[in-house]
């Protein structure tokens, strides 16, 4: 009889302990059975009593073309999840984004390889940087029911259940740029200059749709990466003199094209898609031309914007080498994953990756702490209904953090509002 009493007591203690680990905030008390989730605390845990959810990061960290963005994105995401842990974690778990960080060298093969190395050790990917690289693992993500927060904005992502994107796609961004310029500068012609592939291509597709919708003359110029590879693009801008040039290039190419076209007498308007800008351009000989002729489009306000989310980001990342919007993007991209984890652990979902995927599909709003409207996180419904179509425009201002000052807060033009997204704008 005595033994029986102790047995009951032990069983009760075990149940309490299990309940603590598997979400003691109510809702889902089912034990978690997913890769990358442990009852043991995270290494260097903030909350020693919490279990640990491991999130993977596959980014461009050393020698790829987007390393200047990949490094701050990764740093900001570490800071984001550290803040989550300091607030007690999620459902009895701390989040670790330190242990499984891989460099993709911006190479799709490398991306796929490092994904296969970590896929059994992580619950989801806090970051999968690049469109062609992420595209290389989309099939694997579906097979593994793995959620990934992408570090890119191609219009394919809203059509992929496993991709947890934030912000408007390049395509809608370019539509908004054209509509804004039609309304404010009465433009008659548009040229898109961009890299081949889904970044430049998705933007160019949006620009063409908006140009056709506004009956504007439209030209597309593809250009290769590299400082000295821009002669053709510059020549096309100077010869055709379009009223508006939309740039889907990297920052270096932006500096060369804007600076040299201006030096050759072009006085029209340049607007760059989000990744085309880097505040370091203000130290190049193109700085004056950029100040005079360039507007930067974006998916949310720049580094210095006054929202609670931006403020929390600036406080969390602390003193940085350069106030770069890679930090802003890394921080903003993390909110939907946080919301999904909360929904999954608190709600009545299978505590498996499939359950997390289901929880993602049920999100109707995400609290971005003001960085984006809450409806930008809507995942419940047809992509055409849920795609977020608003972007912002900033002007170049060397006195502002990241060199950008807000010109036009969240807006969407008639083209983007009315466009039927029945598939991605660009399929290369």
């Amino acid at each position: 009889m005595k033994v029986h009493k102790y047995g009951v007591l032990l069983a009760a203690l075990a149940m309490v302990a299990t309940g603590c680990r598997a979400g003691d905030d109510g809702g889902g008390s089912e034990a978690v059975d997913a890769p990358g989730v442990t009852d043991d605390a995270c290494p260097d845990a903030v909350n020693e009593d919490n279990g640990c959810i491991y999130l993977g990061t596959i980014s461009d960290l050393t020698q790829g073309p987007f390393a200047p963005l990949g490094v701050p994105i990764t740093e900001a995401q570490k800071a984001f999840w550290n803040r989550v842990n300091e607030d007690g974690g999620i459902g009895g778990y701390d989040i670790d984004t330190d242990k499984f960080v891989k460099d993709n060298l911006y190479n799709p093969q490398t991306h796929k390889q490092v994904y296969s190395e970590i896929k059994d050790d992580v619950l989801a990917l806090a970051q999968s940087l690049g469109s062609p690289t992420t595209l290389a693992i989309v099939g694997d993500l579906e097979r593994d029911e793995m959620i990934a927060a992408p570090a890119s904005w191609t219009s394919l992502w809203p059509f992929e259940d496993t991709i947890l994107e934030s912000g408007a796609p390049y395509c809608a961004e370019a539509m908004n740029i054209v509509d804004y310029m039609v309304e404010n500068k009465s433009i008659k012609s548009v040229m898109s200059v961009g890299f081949p592939g889904d970044f430049g291509g998705d933007g160019a597709a949006g620009a063409k749709i908006a140009a056709d919708s506004n009956s504007l003359k439209y030209t597309n110029v593809e250009t290769a990466p590299g400082q000295e590879a821009q002669a053709g693009a510059i020549s096309a801008v100077v010869k055709n003199k379009p009223d508006l040039v939309i740039l889907g290039t990297g920052p270096t190419e932006t500096a060369v094209i804007v600076g040299q076209a201006a030096a050759q007498g072009y006085q029209g308007q340049f607007v760059g898609l989000g990744p085309a800008w880097n505040p370091a351009l203000l130290g190049t000989p193109s700085a004056k031309a950029l100040e005079a002729l360039y507007l930067a489009s974006g998916y949310w306000g720049s580094f210095g914007t006054d929202t609670p989310g931006h403020e929390a980001m600036r406080e969390a990342v602390g003193e940085v080498e350069q106030e770069n919007d890679g930090y802003t993007a890394g921080w903003a991209w993390s909110y939907p994953l946080k919301a999904a984890l909360e929904e999954w652990l608190d709600g009545d979902y299978d505590k498996t990756r499939a359950g997390l995927l289901e929880a993602v599909g049920s999100l109707e709003t995400v609290d971005y702490e003001g960085m984006l409207p809450e409806e930008a996180g809507n995942r419940a419904g047809d992509p055409n209904e849920t795609i977020f179509r608003q972007t912002v425009l900033s002007k170049v201002d060397p006195k502002e953090p990241a060199g950008l000052a807000l010109e036009e807060d969240f807006f969407s033009g008639p083209t983007a509002e009315g466009y039927e997204f029945d598939g991605p704008c660009f399929e290369g």
């Binding site: 050393t62 020698q63 790829g64 073309p65 390393a67 200047p68 490094v71 701050p72 081949p196 110029v221 593809e222 250009t223 290769a224 990466p225 590299g226 400082q227 000295e228 590879a229 002669a231 053709g232 020549s235 096309a236 990297g250 920052p251 270096t252 500096a255 060369v256 600076g259 040299q260 201006a262 030096a263 050759q264 880097n278 505040p279 370091a280 351009l281 130290g283 190049t284 000989p285 193109s286 031309a289 080498e321 350069q322 770069n324 890679g326």
Partner: protein, 303 residues
């Protein structure tokens, strides 16, 4: 016609930088029989060094002098780095097949680039220079001042190389070693020193080329890619020919500039970005007529 000549001048400006890079490749190849794929990394290193030296000394000199002093310092520092790399990684491989050494230089290139990129930080590092993107009139033609500087730099360096190879003992030793290493050894030429000298010279040339390139938009992590254009330049000019490297570099620059400016109007069916392919098309066309390049030495074997 004016437009055509301006495009030609722009091509010669860019081609001058390609020629400097190509000279570095050829100098190492002539001395060691190996194509060094570490040149792109040395080019990046040189530009990074200039981007640090120029602001550091800028407070005491005017911009033009600052640029040239920092350019000289970068050439010197990169030459020393190249010397160290040669001594540690290449010299022990003497006697190994050239293919093996070439593969080692690929590894060196990646390693040096990762280190150099670490000094670049987030974005591009500017290189203060007096020209920026300004243009000037030359015989009624508008040309970017930085392109004129590149052409002038190439002319000065080619003259210095001619003097070095013809009138100095080291130059003579390098020519002898390039012609026949064993015979040079028997005549007391230190072939090891020749190897070291060739790496140092190539490093300095790469640093100058990288700095000149970065005057337009600063030094970013992708600057090294430009050095790959030197490969078609050296092959079409002739792998073992210094004059071939110069002509090849200039030809590639001019063709790239012409194609970039006119192909979209004259031959749109070639598609976008044909300018990027044009150096390789030019190389193939030349190789069809001259399999060893324009100035290359035909290889003769007894059978």
């Amino acid at each position: 016609m004016t437009d055509f000549l301006e495009v030609l001048l722009r091509g010669l400006g860019v081609g001058s930088v390609y020629a400097l890079l190509a000279l570095g490749f050829v100098i190492i190849y002539k001395a060691t029989g190996v194509i060094s794929f570490a040149q792109p990394a040395l080019m990046l290193t040189g530009a990074v060094v200039t981007s640090y030296v120029a602001p550091a000394i800028g407070f005491m000199l005017f911009t033009g002098l600052t640029f040239f002093v920092s350019l000289g310092a970068a050439a010197l520092i990169t030459a020393v780095i190249a010397l160290i790399v040669e001594r540690l990684a290449i010299r022990p491989m003497i006697g190994r097949p050239a293919f093996v050494v070439a593969i080692i230089t690929i590894g060196l290139d990646i390693a040096i680039r990762v280190v150099a990129s670490g000094f670049i930080g987030l974005g591009a590092r500017p290189i203060p220079n007096p020209w920026g993107l300004q243009r000037t009139e030359l015989l009624g033609l508008r040309v970017q001042e930085r392109h004129l500087v590149s052409m002038l730099a190439l002319a000065v360096i080619v003259a210095a190389l001619v003097w070095f190879y013809r009138y100095t003992r080291y130059g003579l030793a390098m020519r002898a070693a390039a012609f026949d290493q064993e015979a040079a050894l028997t005549q007391g030429v230190s072939v090891g020193s020749v190897f070291a000298m060739s790496w140092a010279m190539a490093g300095a040339l790469a640093a100058i080329a990288g700095t000149l390139l970065a005057t337009s938009a600063g030094v970013d992590r992708q600057l090294w890619i430009v050095a790959l254009v030197a490969l078609p330049a050296i092959i079409l000019g002739g792998l073992d020919s210094l004059e071939g490297a110069v002509i090849g570099g200039l030809a590639v620059g001019v063709v790239e500039s012409m194609v970039g400016s006119y192909q979209r109007d004259l031959a749109p069916w070639l598609g976008n970005n044909f300018a990027g392919v044009s150096p390789y098309v030019l190389m193939l066309l030349v190789l069809l007529a001259k399999p060893y390049g324009i100035f290359g030495t035909p290889e003769v074997r007894r059978v």
